[in-house]
Symmetry: C2
């Protein structure tokens, strides 16, 4: 999928919502635990309840790996289910990988070939040869950490470099030169909405993946004011605030309502900006 | 395992060798491909042929994930095999993880509880709350990327910060203050041996995990001259130069010989430094 396809899906659905499938075995409603693959069954219900309201899903690999082989199998089944039933959905592996070239090649094979994700999140610390292998797959995306939404973002990302740039600005500036707007996105936390201005100064046309709206406290309106571009350029992720809105056996209904609320806000913001 | 146990194992085996289990399905000798779990069968033979010569094994997660569920199962079987037969071995998950706190908690559970690794490699980009969950497991280790052995290490790690430190120095300085010498190591590439001096100035007593000796071209003698401390303080990793020394059905013999050659060099360097 390229950036034009993604923008078209956003317009069609009046939504730039990405739902994070941070599926925690310990938070799955009890009635699903008797199933052979409870994580998959939970995901399937969340997906069926929200697919018309979202443009992307983002499984968080840690939650699947914490369950070993059964978790990996649940992940494979989830991807296959989405691919078969909702082929227009953009699929992001939230994996934060990044290693030397021959190892990054293996990760690219794991996530782009075997699992058929459209995109994977990557850590930039190891530099160009850790990112490059992911850029060589046509229609696939590297989603590189720029400025994250957690407290630890202050430890290194926001440190000043020689020449007065901050580290995250230097990261985004360099990574922009390695790829293009059809294969590279950046993660920029919603809790730092005013810093989106500095990101947009360096990467005006790139898509940004924005975590931190919802459970982590960021404001959607601020994100749009500081980050939206002429092709939207935003995928806003919400995980816990949607999938765990309600822990009962009616969790799908609550998740759908939470997604509708976000889609409605997004629709009005897209209209306000004249994009739909 | 704490740092004293590790040093004792180094003295007992006259070796600070870590063998990287970067097990590539496409490089496994043909006669093993008829087995149900060829990656596990390959690992088992490499382990049996080298366990008396090494203090650590380091499976590289990318290679297992690239094979999906079967790969994950091969990894679990490999860990169980080592734990059952060679309980003194130090086991490092080469995973380069790092995410917000609740996600890092999940990775810690995956690698320390479910898979019973002793240590995991981590990327520091997301800061303290991405590392902290791993430090809370007694007898377990966070192995944080400092200065890596690849070309891309120049892109960010070696950039100058305000105040004249380089980024990797700032990373190591800060991470040192989060943990201690019994739960924190740093990855420092052997291809940058002279930079080990700057690392030792900041972290004189920590263990360092050194990749890049062997296939990537670093010199063992230089690493020891610049990096060894009074409790050795080094785990030197070799992957391809040992496990793929020979691709025939006698690969175990060649792997053993390559490990003996390294152990012999290590023994003579440990003697030269007066540690055994």
């Amino acid at each position: 999928m390229n950036s034009e396809d993604l923008f078209n899906n956003i317009k069609k659905k009046s939504s730039f919502l990405c739902v994070g499938l941070d599926t925690d075995y310990n938070k799955i409603p009890k009635h699903l635990l008797q199933e052979q693959y409870p994580m998959y069954e939970f995901n399937k219900r969340i997906i069926d309840a929200t697919e018309d309201l979202v443009v992307a899903y983002k499984p968080n690999l840690a939650f699947y790996e914490s369950m070993g082989t059964a978790g990996w199998m649940s992940l494979e089944m989830t991807i296959n289910y989405i691919r078969k039933n909702y082929p227009e959905i953009f699929l992001i592996a939230d994996a934060k990988r990044g290693d030397i070239g021959n190892t990054s090649n293996m990760y690219a094979r794991a996530f782009f070939n075997n699992l058929d994700f459209d995109a994977i999140t990557l850590s930039p610390y190891m530099g160009r040869d850790s990112i490059q292998p992911f850029l060589e797959y046509p229609q696939k995306w590297a989603v590189v950490l720029g400025l994250t939404s957690n407290d630890g973002a202050e430890d290194f990302q926001q440190l000043g470099m020689k020449g007065d740039k901050l580290l995250y600005e230097e990261v985004i500036r360099k990574v922009v030169s390695w790829g293009n707007t059809d294969n590279t996105m950046f993660v920029v936390g919603a809790t730092k909405a005013e810093m989106l201005d500095s990101v947009r100064a360096i990467a005006p046309d790139h898509f940004l993946l924005i975590p931190g709206v919802g459970a982590q406290g960021g404001s959607l309106e601020e994100v749009v004011d500081h980050g939206m571009n002429r092709r939207c350029g935003l995928l806003v992720n919400a995980s816990r605030s949607i999938i765990y809105k309600d822990g009962s056996n009616k969790f799908e209904i609550a998740a759908r309502q939470a997604a509708i609320d976000m889609r409605d806000q997004m629709e009005s913001l897209l209209k306000k900006k004249g994009l739909i």
